[in-house]
Symmetry: C2
Subunit: 182 residues, 2 copies
């Protein structure tokens, strides 16, 4: 059986706004030796798969600075303080696309990377969404809204057009929600 | 159409071994204003879904320092210098579990988080794997091997038992490979 490591010490190394870097000093229960670990801390994230009554997924295209290229994703972002994940999902959907819908349900919660991140990411499904107003973008955002037929999503993942791993996971929860985990 | 941001400057802030932190200064094509961005750089990663002839997925349980709890995953790790992703997948499978198999195929490549990471993660499927020797763990590893029936995986994702987002994405590529993107 795998036992937890004893935390001998921890300290904050840097705060970069959207994430902070933490250094842990922990004891391996297998070897009895201490190890230094680095962790990226951040607030929880949300992503929302928004589907119109016609079966179209409201996606966003934006330039992503990690890979310095444009990615196709579903709306999402960071859960603000004093906000529930569902409120964050509705807010990000509305701000990034101008779409909204009454019916929203959580279809999954995951750790984006439990090895080196401490946060969780909540995945929502919003159905019957409609365009209610234009986008309301932050200074740092430049987002194009595109509608993709829900049945085209698996092919776009298989051919690499959609290659953001968090989106691939989100669409897996969407798939499991649609067909059930049979 | 979404245009790329012009990179005005970049510098390395910190090197933590498994990842480095980069600071970019880039110009928004929408507002014409510069923004400061933080990116976590690292080498590419691999994950491998190893399946025995009996349809059992060879999984690993290990303590994950980001969330400070135990996670169920498939084998994986960092691609070493002068190593192909496939070689890394075979090596990690063998080191972490003692299992090996002749037939290995890449079923997906994704960006784990293109917003704040620069690397890619390659997903492999290894079929007909068999236990050939005991594990060969690094000082910093403490890993338990467990076999899970491939048909039980969707239920374990749906109920949150498997909640590492990279694994959820890996199992989505596995699903698409098995059923085809219909």
């Amino acid at each position: 059986m795998i036992r937890p490591w004893e935390l001998l010490g921890t300290r904050l190394l840097a705060d970069h706004g959207i994430f902070r870097v933490r250094e842990d000093y922990s004891l391996s229960p297998r070897t009895g030796k201490p190890h230094r670990l680095y962790v990226m801390e951040s607030r929880d994230w949300v992503n929302v798969v928004p589907v119109t009554a016609e079966g179209r997924v409201v996606c966003v295209r934006q330039f992503r600075h990690g890979v310095r290229s444009v990615a196709i994703e579903v709306p999402g972002g960071i859960v603000d303080p004093r906000e529930t994940p569902e409120e964050a999902a509705r807010r990000e959907l509305f701000e990034e696309t101008g779409y909204a819908g009454e019916d929203i349900v959580r279809i999954g919660t995951m750790n984006p990377n439990p090895a080196i991140q401490n946060n969780r990411c909540h995945i929502f499904l919003a159905t019957g969404v409609q365009r209610e107003m234009s986008q309301s973008l932050d200074q740092g955002e430049d987002i194009e809204v595109i509608l993709i037929n829900e049945h085209d999503i698996p092919g776009l993942i298989a051919d690499g057009t959609i290659d953001n791993g968090i989106m691939v996971a989100a669409f897996h929860y969407f798939h499991l929600h649609r067909v059930g985990p049979s």
